[in-house]
């Protein structure tokens, strides 16, 4: 089976400054991949490129026949207006967009789906609360419930366990593994190396340049991590043009 996601010498960035530089590689369908790297390494930028919110400065990202609707994306700093008067139930139900679209009614069957999703993230009884009354952890659970309903082939989670207590992240991690068992492709940006080692078979280590990509144990070596830590975060305003025929810098 061909790859879901193919990066061909991708460079993504802002104002011509690369934030992800010459990344090449493939993600197989059903893979569970951790994306690791220091702050400013380009993890969120890469995700924005995958979901199509950012056009590559060079190279290409191919989704292998996936439609934009087949991707569920959970951004890191969610741009949600929490003062908006919408109930948890209605908010989570927007995850059904793919099947219900503009006008599809939320009938008994879909209501049951929404309730099941809320139960799966442990938010039973929260249906009628407005989203502004949720705590940070409850908010994250609710967002996972929506991802659950999106029923996507590819799930992209940007630092999903940040500022989340141990119990909540354990619960949510269970969901991630459940998605993996269902043969969905999951990409997650993470900072907790122990969590990655214990749960993610494949890892990409990014520090603007891709440092390593492969089986987690081989990627998360102290040498590789040291290389990643040395990355210079600042953009150089007087940087020269990147040599176009620069060899793809994928280390393995």
């Amino acid at each position: 089976m061909s790859a879901h996601l193919t990066f061909r010498d991708v460079t993504l960035g802002y104002d011509r400054h690369p934030a992800v530089h010459h990344l090449s590689g493939e993600v197989a369908p059903g893979a569970l991949v951790a994306l690791v790297g220091p702050n400013g390494a380009g993890k969120s930028t890469l995700f924005r490129g995958i979901v199509g919110m950012l056009k590559p400065l060079a190279g290409s990202i191919s989704l292998g026949g996936l439609d934009a609707r087949d991707i569920a994306y959970l951004p890191q700093s969610v741009d949600i207006d929490r003062s908006f008067p919408i109930s948890v139930f209605d908010f989570v139900a927007t995850g059904l967009w793919r099947s219900s679209g503009l006008f599809g009614g939320i009938g008994k069957q879909r209501q049951a789906k929404v309730l099941a999703a809320l139960a799966a993230v442990g938010l039973n009884g929260f249906e009628r609360r407005t989203i502004g009354t949720l705590s940070g952890g409850q908010m994250q659970r609710m967002l996972f419930a929506r991802v659950l309903l999106q029923d996507a082939r590819l799930i992209v989670l940007d630092e999903p366990f940040n500022a989340i207590d141990a119990k909540t992240s354990a619960d949510l991690l269970k969901l991630v593994k459940h998605w993996h068992a269902e043969q969905r492709t999951v990409l997650a940006a993470l900072h907790d190396m122990d969590l990655v080692r214990a749960n993610f078979p494949e890892t990409v280590l990014l520090a603007r340049e891709p440092v390593a990509w492969g089986a987690t144990a081989q990627v998360l070596t102290s040498d590789n991590l040291l290389v990643a830590r040395r990355m210079c975060e600042a953009f150089d305003d007087s940087a020269a043009l990147c040599a176009a025929d620069h060899a793809p810098a994928r280390a393995a």
Binding site: G52, A68, Y73, D79, F84, P85, F91, W97, L102, T130
Partner: protein
């Protein structure tokens, strides 16, 4: 006695009945728009748009006098141009909506004034500025009702993406491309309802019947359907009470309507059951769980 004050103006005078019909149509179309303007923190955008349609209406007036269609058409064109251009700039560049809108409506205003002064006629634009709901003719009433109907139908179509776009725009962008069109259609509805309102209340107060009811509704409901219902109801009540007030006291009708709405607003700020001031002062004993 009470009948004489509250009901007989409408049974006796046809112009009062027309005014009431007009204000009900305006409330039905404008109040839901106002709720979304408020929830998107665009209340002042509505105000800016109201200024943007003024020159268009003035040009229409210049060309063909107090012609309903020329003025409506001019207002619509000016409003749409400003709304669409500023929307496009905001969506494609770093400039935020408020800043780009401010730029375009000021340009529109300056252009309008320039055109009017080039013609050099001293025109009476009081009608455009303050409207006259007591002088609605059949045609105007039909235009208002037509626009209100269109507004409600279009709102029904864009309701779902509009709500999602308000709560979580990034999510909407990842599941559908309807975000930008929805936003533009919504801005178009704002313009249509402002133009609608200026026949009755004038360009300067037209936005009042959208924003004040929305502000009132915020204090009485926690969910959006409730808010829309309360906004429409309070717009209708203000309209009716304003007409009665204007009839009995000779206060101009437009300002009377807005002032009644303002009274309702003050009452809601004080006694509203969602974050009203009195409620905050006396919240009652805390619960067990």
């Amino acid at each position: 006695m009470l009948y004489d004050v509250l009901i007989s103006p409408f049974t006796e005078f046809e112009f009062m009945r027309r005014a009431l019909a007009g204000i009900i149509a305006l409330a039905l179309g404008g109040a839901p728009i106002g709720v979304f303007l408020m929830l998107r923190r665009m209340s002042l955008v509505g105000d800016a748009m109201a200024h943007a349609i003024l020159p268009g209406a003035a040009i229409g007036f210049l060309i063909s006098g107090l012609n309903l269609f020329a003025m409506t058409f001019g207002g619509l064109i000016a409003g749409f141009a400003v709304a669409i251009l500023s929307g496009i700039v905001a969506r494609t560049t770093e400039l935020k909506e408020d800043a780009s809108l401010a730029t375009f409506y000021l340009v529109s205003l300056a252009l309008g004034v320039t055109i009017v002064s080039m013609r050099g006629t001293n025109i009476d634009l009081l009608h455009v500025l303050f409207g006259n709901i007591l002088a609605l003719d059949d045609q105007t009433l039909l235009v208002i009702a037509f626009n209100a109907t269109i507004t409600l139908l279009v709102m029904a179509v864009i309701y779902r993406p509009l709500v999602i776009e308000c709560v979580d725009p990034v999510f909407l962008r990842t599941v559908s491309r309807s975000g930008a069109p929805t936003h533009l259609v919504f801005l178009a509805l704002v313009v249509v309802n402002l133009v609608n309102g200026f026949h009755a209340l004038g360009t300067l107060l037209a936005v009042g019947l959208m924003i004040l009811p929305a502000g009132i509704a915020r204090f009485w409901s926690r969910d959006i359907s409730g808010m829309i219902a309360i906004a429409v109801a309070s717009a209708m009540v203000s309209g009716y009470a304003g007409l009665v007030l204007s009839f009995q006291t000779k206060v101009p009708s437009g300002p009377a309507i807005i002032l009644v709405a303002a009274l309702l607003y003050v009452f809601s700020v004080l006694f509203g059951n969602v974050s009203g001031l009195v409620r905050q002062l006396f919240p009652g004993r805390h619960l067990e769980a």
